[in-house]
Symmetry: C2
Subunit: 214 residues, 2 copies
Amino acid sequence: MEKTATEFTDKQLAIIDAAQKLFAESGFDGTSVRDIAHEAGINVAMISYYFGSKEKLMEAVFEQKANHTRIKVENLLQNENLSPLEKVNVLIDDYVDKFIAQQEFHRIMIREQLIEKNNAVATLIYELKKRNQDSIKKLIHEGQKGGAFKKNIDIVLMMTTLVGTVSQMITSQRFYREMNHLEEMPEPEFQKYIRKKLSAHLKNLFKVILTYEA
Amino acid sequence: MEKTATEFTDKQLAIIDAAQKLFAESGFDGTSVRDIAHEAGINVAMISYYFGSKEKLMEAVFEQKANHTRIKVENLLQNENLSPLEKVNVLIDDYVDKFIAQQEFHRIMIREQLIEKNNAVATLIYELKKRNQDSIKKLIHEGQKGGAFKKNIDIVLMMTTLVGTVSQMITSQRFYREMNHLEEMPEPEFQKYIRKKLSAHLKNLFKVILTYEA
DNA sequence: AATAATCAATCAAACGTTTGTTTAACTTTA
DNA sequence: TAAAGTTAAACAAACGTTTGATTGATTATT
């Protein structure tokens, strides 16, 4: 049974957005509830009033934003007009797009994955990764059955490269800008630029991993 | 001119090690100076006494540990018994080894790269990345001149995949363990295992990026 | 229709802790 | 005995959270 999505009021959503922004910039411990209240233009007490605690607010951020991170593969599996490799390419585009569009949330994800102790958010991340992993697995196995992909593929390692490359690009995009002398390029254009670069790069990598024999 | 390495006493090194461990586990803001003092078995005041501030202690951690992260390519360039691709493979092994061996420090690096504001540590990371980038660039250009590598290679993007894949593996190694049903494997053996896996995987990727035409 | 009661929303202020850092007294070392 | 090392205690500031009063709109009672 699918978990029923909590409904947030506009005011709650404003707090969640402010929290996401600041958590992405300075991390959970580096952001105070007063910072969040100021960013959202509300009184500090409202955070406890609506969410119970700072920790619970972080969970609300995940509840509200994590859906944008989920890979959807059902329609792809049924589609008979695309080859297995084309399907993987669609999936890569989808993933890169979501990652670029939701950078603030993904910065939080990257940080939270580094935390050692098991809290509620860690569990959410684990389940999200597991679900994405399973989606990919289905797609790959389909391609393997038809003979389009080779047999021995380490899917988890492959996903590590996908997620890792995109994460690292998000993390060091300013560095990427400078190394390629793109300081003058307007931000929206640059975002399109790295999206295109990443997409082509990853498609090329995946084609090799999936089809060429080592 | 090379910056003269600061000499730390044994006691200072103990504090630095304790700080590295806790910063890696819980982040800079998630670790208190009292935590560090307790871990190192010293009085809180000693941190201010020796390092001036918590911030400066973090810089000392970098000063002491960052050298292990630097890619060394000089000997490799002069070696005439290895092909360009073999040299790249040596470099990948070298990088993966350093990363696995210095996981605590690299966790700190991954976290600090996410911080938006420019502090002293951010500058250190930038220079480290720049230096590593330049080292790789030399090696690639050498291979390109001899015709072993293709012409249009996005070296920054390539490094993004190298660093990103290894970082993501460090970050989610517990996940990797469970997905491959390796919960029973002893920790040291598992570390060797992922080092080997990562190395083979990345060598395969780089061979493709560097030699095959898109 | 007028009045009383109830409610969630909002606020400034205060709560008790914990934070990084400093002080001043004491001990060890050279 | 002067300098360096070490300590418990204290410091102000910042932290997450709670409190109690006030608001304004809605519901119930007369």
